[in-house]
Point group: C2
């Protein structure tokens, strides 16, 4: 749960990151930047800011903003009603993002699961994305990601997004943020 004041302050902070990356939003878009606290109540640790440009039955495009060391918790996009899960490409636009996917664990990774939550992070194959670098995550693949010390802006190009069906490793997570 976040307060209405926290929502607005976080939207404005996310918009600054976008502006600093040269990405222009309309006033209507700034006001609908989504702030996800994942129901964990500590937005600076587990959180993500998103603006969705388009989301039809076939295509979705978003910008993701992460503040320094902010983490999007581990999840996957399952098949829904016979339709393959979401396929998504992350393209880093500014900052650095540490992405973790299924595969051999990376020794000495640059990102770390948030303190006290290590048991909710099971994949540890590290992909480091700097500006202009990208990675495609196939459907139903566990992944999580964390910004570096400067935060990050990441474009996401994907099939239809139905975030409410995402399956998080931490079953305490609520994907839809409650605003007081």
């Amino acid at each position: 749960m976040i307060s209405a004041e926290q929502l607005i302050a976080t939207q404005l902070r996310a918009h600054e990151y976008l502006q600093n990356t040269g990405i222009i939003l309309t006033p209507e878009e700034i006001a609908r930047i989504e702030v996800a606290d994942f129901g964990l109540g500590d937005l600076g640790v587990h959180g993500l800011q998103l603006i969705t440009y388009i989301n039809t039955s076939r295509v979705c495009a978003k910008e993701l903003v992460l503040f320094p060391r902010q983490t999007c918790p581990e999840h996957r996009h399952p098949e829904i009603e016979g339709e393959p899960g979401k396929e998504e490409t992350f393209r880093c636009r500014s900052g650095v993002v540490y992405l973790y996917v299924e595969g051999a664990a990376t020794s000495d990774p640059q990102g770390r699961p948030p303190a006290g939550a290590a048991s909710e992070y099971t994949v540890a194959h590290e992909i480091v994305l700097g500006p202009g670098e990208q990675y495609t995550i196939m459907p139903d693949t566990k992944h999580w990601f964390q910004a570096g010390d400067e935060g990050a802006v990441v474009s996401e190009f994907s099939t239809r997004s139905r975030d409410e069906f995402d399956i998080f490793t931490d079953d305490c997570i609520k994907r839809v943020t409650v605003v007081e």
Copy 2:
């Protein structure tokens, strides 16, 4: 047909437009910027520069660069082998783009078909996109677009792209550019 020298010079010019918009490409991407002359041999008039980030069976994302008043000729994306045609969203990132789609003709439009080619342009409903503005073109809908006097950078978010199946109103057009 364009020369190898023209290809490289045009790639570098397109890259400058992207850089000025804050969009970062890898060296590998700069070298594979696609230059489309549509087989019409006058790139400054009919032409488009593209970098494709991802193009799978489900999702495609590109950046399009148009030089001042450069025009992408009228075309549509048909159904292919039972799969609905390409659905695409154009989001203007810098400059201005004049987009023409099916519907009531706009009186006093801000773009014009290239001189001598008016018969190959049949749709005239104008959509003007400045930075941060976007428009979604549904499958099999005729459209063409022209940059304003400063050129334009446009992000395209779409379903799978199979440009070789595009149907152009001008049947002299060859979508795949021949480099000498």
